[in-house]
Amino acid sequence: MLLIDCPWCGERAETEFSYGGEAGITRPKDPAALSDAEWADYLFMRNNPKGAHRELWNHSQGCRRWFGIERDTLTYRIAGTFRLHGKDEG
């Protein structure tokens, strides 16, 4: 069981949260300008690394806010959580 440190509520059990996938993917400003390959990359392609992963989580059973976590996908160790500022973390 992961113990997740919500930036607003503190440490809570994994079951209070929902997972939102890879962080840092921003919706292209002008989708019509993209090629099919670029659009597919935005929509479907993911890094899916074995190791450090920056990912989105939502405290769905708590404050219901989105935030980011850097977690190792092999050891599951959480290096830290971060707030999203709308700029680089979508």
Partner: protein, 415 residues
């Protein structure tokens, strides 16, 4: 040596001390015509069909651990072909037909047992979806029938069909030709048969790099040295993205832990396979008497071959909901595998932007059933540098064209 009643008898007389090894353990050569990365069932099947059907015998399978030690040896072994969409149904049905002759083909008993698979429906909408899927299956020539709750109770007396239960069972689909097989035997049988055709099976050999020259493949780097090859097929399940990044290409795959458990052995109590999408659990009984139970995936990406406790609890709730009789059965072992999930829950069996490099992945939670068929079409794709009709729709290109094959939820349950 061919396995037969006679060879059993002869070896029994010498106290089973003289059985020859089932496959060789050769040193890797400097170069092969084709390499298959990943010694799971799919990789071994690919090598076997390359050698048997396409005359490609200068082939090696590279496995970082031991063959069958990945998802092949960790799954709940459910084999069925009742998928909704035609593309998927035909691919899985090809596999089903190969299963039906596999023990003879390989001269190895894979213990394929066509004991039937029930997919339960708990709501009116479930039942409508089941009607639709059963009809679609029949149009594709795949055996399928709708079963009522009354018939279910007759066939599986231990199943809780009470109309007052939390998620009442209204009926099910049944595929009688579906069932289970012995997972290890599938890996070993393909390995032995491929070895006999000249394929080198090289264990403890991890691929650490993929070497390309511009747009073409040259070979791979491994923990046992560099190996050149004209063609390289990658079949590494949960590690697909890791290998893709070595080759400098991107995949729409996410890796998740998926768990299963077995109980203490019981007397025969369940002679078929029962799956439920709604409460999410699936169960069968092994020949040793253990209940084999599968859970859902953990929602987050993970490469650790273990899953979380909330997921275990959820699976147990589902099983006890369906079979209250099992509430006091003790669990013996639990484990996890890493499954490679694609956005449309369908595999990618495809050429790539790199000439001579092919990927076979995205089987996610349900690829064991496809083992022979996957190897068969992948061998065709590698040998001809062209997909077979059966896997043409399952290319990487579909994520650009938008022609996804949406089997999420459509095909009974994910496994």
């Amino acid at each position: 040596m061919k396995y037969s009643a006679l060879s059993l008898l002869r070896n029994a007389l010498s106290h089973n001390r003289n059985w020859p090894e089932a496959w060789r353990s050769p040193k890797p050569k400097k170069k092969y015509d084709a390499l298959v990365i990943g010694g799971g069932g799919h990789g071994l099947a690919t090598a076997y069909y390359l050698a048997r059907d396409h005359g490609m015998k200068d082939v090696a399978v590279l496995e970082k651990g031991w063959i069958g030690g990945g998802n092949t040896g960790r799954n709940t072994t459910i084999v069925r072909s009742n998928y909704l969409w035609t593309e998927a149904a035909l691919l899985y049905e090809k596999s089903m037909q190969l299963w039906e002759g596999l023990s003879q083909d390989l001269n190895y008993n894979v213990m394929f047992s066509q004991r039937g698979v029930y997919n339960l429906g708990h709501t009116l909408q479930d039942m409508r979806d089941i009607e639709r899927r059963v009809s679609a299956n029949r149009l594709n020539g795949i055996d399928a029938e709708v079963v009522t709750a009354v018939q279910l109770k007759k066939n599986i007396p231990q199943l809780n069909t009470s109309p007052t239960s939390r998620y009442p069972i209204l009926g099910a689909s049944l595929q009688r030709r579906a069932g289970v097989a012995r997972h290890d035997a599938v890996a070993w049988g393909f390995a032995r048969a491929a070895d006999r055709l000249g394929v080198d099976i090289i264990q403890q050999c991890e691929v650490t790099g993929i070497r390309r020259d511009g747009d073409g493949i040259i070979g791979v780097d491994t923990t046992r040295g560099a190996i050149d090859a004209d063609r390289v097929g990658v079949v590494v399940a949960g590690h697909a993205s890791v290998l893709a990044s070595m080759a400098g290409i991107r995949l729409p795959i996410q890796s998740h832990p998926l768990q299963a458990f077995v109980s203490e052995p019981l007397k025969p109590v369940l002679d078929t396979v029962v799956m439920s999408n709604a409460v999410h659990g699936y169960i069968s009984q092994s020949d040793k008497g253990e209940l084999v139970i599968g859970a859902g995936i953990d929602a987050y990406n993970g490469y650790a071959q273990r899953g979380s406790f909330p997921t275990i609890e959820h699976a147990m709730q589902a099983i006890i909901e369906l079979f209250p009789i099992f509430s006091r059965v003790r669990m013996l072992r639990m484990w996890g595998g890493i499954v490679d999930v694609a956005p449309d829950a369908c595999p990618i069996i495809s050429k790539t932007p790199v000439n001579g490099l092919y990927f076979n992945c995205g089987w996610g939670t349900g690829g064991f059933k496809a083992t022979p068929g996957s190897g068969w079409v992948f061998a065709h794709t590698i040998a001809n540098d062209e997909p077979h009709e059966l896997n043409r729709a399952f290319d990487l290109q579909r994520f650009e064209s938008g022609a996804l094959i949406d089997e999420h939820g459509a095909a009974a349950v994910a496994h």
